[in-house]
Amino acid sequence: MHVLHGSIQRIPVMPPVAPIAVPETTEADIEALFLIRGFERLLLDLFSRGVLNGTTHTCLGQEYIPVALSPLFEAPDFIFSNHRGHGHYLARFGDVEGLLLEIMGRAGGVCNGVGGSQHLFRDGFLSTGVLGESVPAAAGMAWSLKRRGGRGIAVAYTGDGGWGEGSVYETLNMASLWGLPLLMVVENNAMAQSSHAERYRAGTIQDRAHAFGIRTLQITGCDLAEIRNLAGPEIAAMRERPRPLVIEFATQRLGPHSKGDDPRSPELVAELWRRDWEAPLRQRHPALCERVTARVSERLEALRATALQQPLSEWTDAS
């Protein structure tokens, strides 16, 4: 991990990020990357037009993490996601329609418009908006998966900010003690809403996990194949011999915390964009990216056009 010095104003040197790497990968992977990015951009656009209600947290810059991990997860696995969870959801289901309609409160939304951006639940996937809250729940799920004897694991996505909550450490203790198949994926973008890591975190996430005797894996690149090569055997091992694992990605959040609240300097954000995966990916595979993004745009534009025509969602259970 990088040791950071100096004030927030000096942040341009800050992101503990990834050397630029080109995802060496399949067309399906590239499509997933662009689908998530396109979806988040569509959301921000709809917000700027006043079409969307409430708030949202986009994962621009971090899309590659769930895309890389998704094929490593199996049917019985249960994923707990957080406030910045659209990428996690879309990497598992590809369901931009259900998600947008959910966020727009229209019929066909995955949770009838009740949950919204950060409260989604379907088929082994649940997100909730209180940081640190899903981690013990994931441990409870892991306990159940283990005792029922399958190979399933529970996955909890968190950011680095979520590691400020005491529930995380209580859970690390129990997960290690009881050998629970709990995978914690830390998307460390070094930003907790508006606060940089150097302002709120002493020590490192890795050391905190090690204090509980939990294995960690540090990943700094965004090459999908490389990530899978690193994470795949570790995840396979925890299926065979149930135990927790922390995978920490040094990543970068390109967008604001939610819709427009970004105190970082434009220079810093520009620097982050220069380290992003999209430009080098397009450079490496121009024709493929062209073809994929055309398909994705078409799908998202069709969705944009039809979503507003959908009736408002029904909620029959206002008991």
Partner: protein, 338 residues
């Protein structure tokens, strides 16, 4: 033969649930035999069902959160909170995760989760081990509140609560554990009791059925005994007829089965060991007003413990916590004024 003690009844309730349903499990502190839980409610469970009893570190927040995850996995977890005073640490998983999961995802998600919580004073445990935190959980959608009393059989109650589909908080007043369960019928030389309500929602305790009793006391948990003592004195000294109504379910409060009894009473007391200010008694009084306004002869009287920390020394603790003398004075004071 005397009926079993309430702690034995609760313990048997667990053993029967565990035997019947492999999804039932227990998580909490110091549950392992031979200790078997601080109040011995979980005695012998870890010996019989070692794989389903998780004796957890001192981590109320995370082990309650874990139980939510178990419930989402289809298990039926029971959480034991050793002292209700510690449940503040578990507030978030109960309020924001367990209760909300029932409806937050746009369709009904059954959550089979029972959180048992030891509460109450009169044991000299002091300010942080004696409180009645019920009111802090009132009115949370889909979080149902129940309280143990000497009348409702916990074997039946726990079986019902774990199947409810809403997370449930069950409060257990620690002074009740060593008391005996009482079977329907005679309670002592004066009083007898029976269940009322289509689902036996209330125990009704009285000397004899009366068209117009002097007072009805709504009382749950251990203050039933304060009510009973006060009612006895009020009868013997002043010939006042008092009816005591005891629910197992605190919230949502099942008012319908007792509306007739309340409407016929000259005065109504709602009593609890907790303190005033958004309390259970106040919420019951509000419900009574909204249904019986215009038919009440007197204002509903809510009796609480004093708004104070709970001191350790017995003589000081008695000054703070609701005692039968307070209930008696309220019964008599009102009768004199009436």
């Amino acid at each position: 033969m005397q009926a079993e003690r309430i702690v034995e009844n609760l313990n048997r309730a667990h053993h029967e649930l565990f035997s019947r349903d492999p999804a039932v499990c227990l998580i909490g502190e110091d549950l392992l035999d031979p200790y078997g839980g601080a109040f011995k409610v979980s005695r012998d469970l870890s010996t019989r069902f070692p794989e389903r009893v998780l004796s957890a570190p001192i981590s109320e927040c995370a082990f309650t959160g874990m139980a939510c995850g178990m419930a989402l996995a289809g298990e039926k977890p029971i959480v034991e909170i050793m002292f209700g005073d510690f449940i503040g640490y578990a507030f978030d998983p109960l309020w924001n995760l367990a209760a909300k999961s029932v409806s937050m995802y746009g369709r009904r998600v059954p959550i089979h989760l029972l959180v048992r919580c030891t509460v109450g004073g009169n044991r000299g445990f002091g300010a942080t081990h004696s409180q009645s935190p019920q009111k802090h959980f009132l009115g949370i959608p889909d979080l149902d509140l129940f309280e143990v009393n000497p009348f409702h059989d916990n074997v039946e109650l726990l079986a019902e609560l774990i199947e409810r589909g809403n997370p449930v908080l069950l409060f257990e007043n620690k002074t009740l554990y060593s008391r005996h369960c009482v079977r329907e019928g005679a309670l002592d030389d004066l009083f007898s009791w029976r269940f009322i309500g289509p689902r036996r929602e209330f125990a009704k305790i009285c000397i004899e059925e009366s068209e117009s009793p002097d007072a009805v006391i709504v009382a749950s948990g251990s203050v039933v005994f304060s009510a009973l003592e006060a009612a006895r004195r009020a009868f013997l000294d002043h010939e006042l007829e008092t009816v005591i109504l005891t629910p197992a379910q605190l919230h949502p409060f099942p008012l319908a089965p007792i509306l007739d009894d309340l409407a016929r009473a000259k005065r109504i007391l709602v009593i609890e060991e907790g303190i005033a200010g958004g309390s259970w008694a106040e919420s019951v009084a509000t419900a009574i007003y909204s249904r019986l306004w215009g038919r009440l002869e007197n204002p509903v009287i809510c009796l609480h413990s004093k708004s104070s920390i709970i001191p350790c020394a017995r003589h000081l603790e008695e000054r703070v916590l609701l005692q039968s003398g307070h209930v008696f004075e309220a019964l008599i004071g009102e009768s004199i004024r009436a």
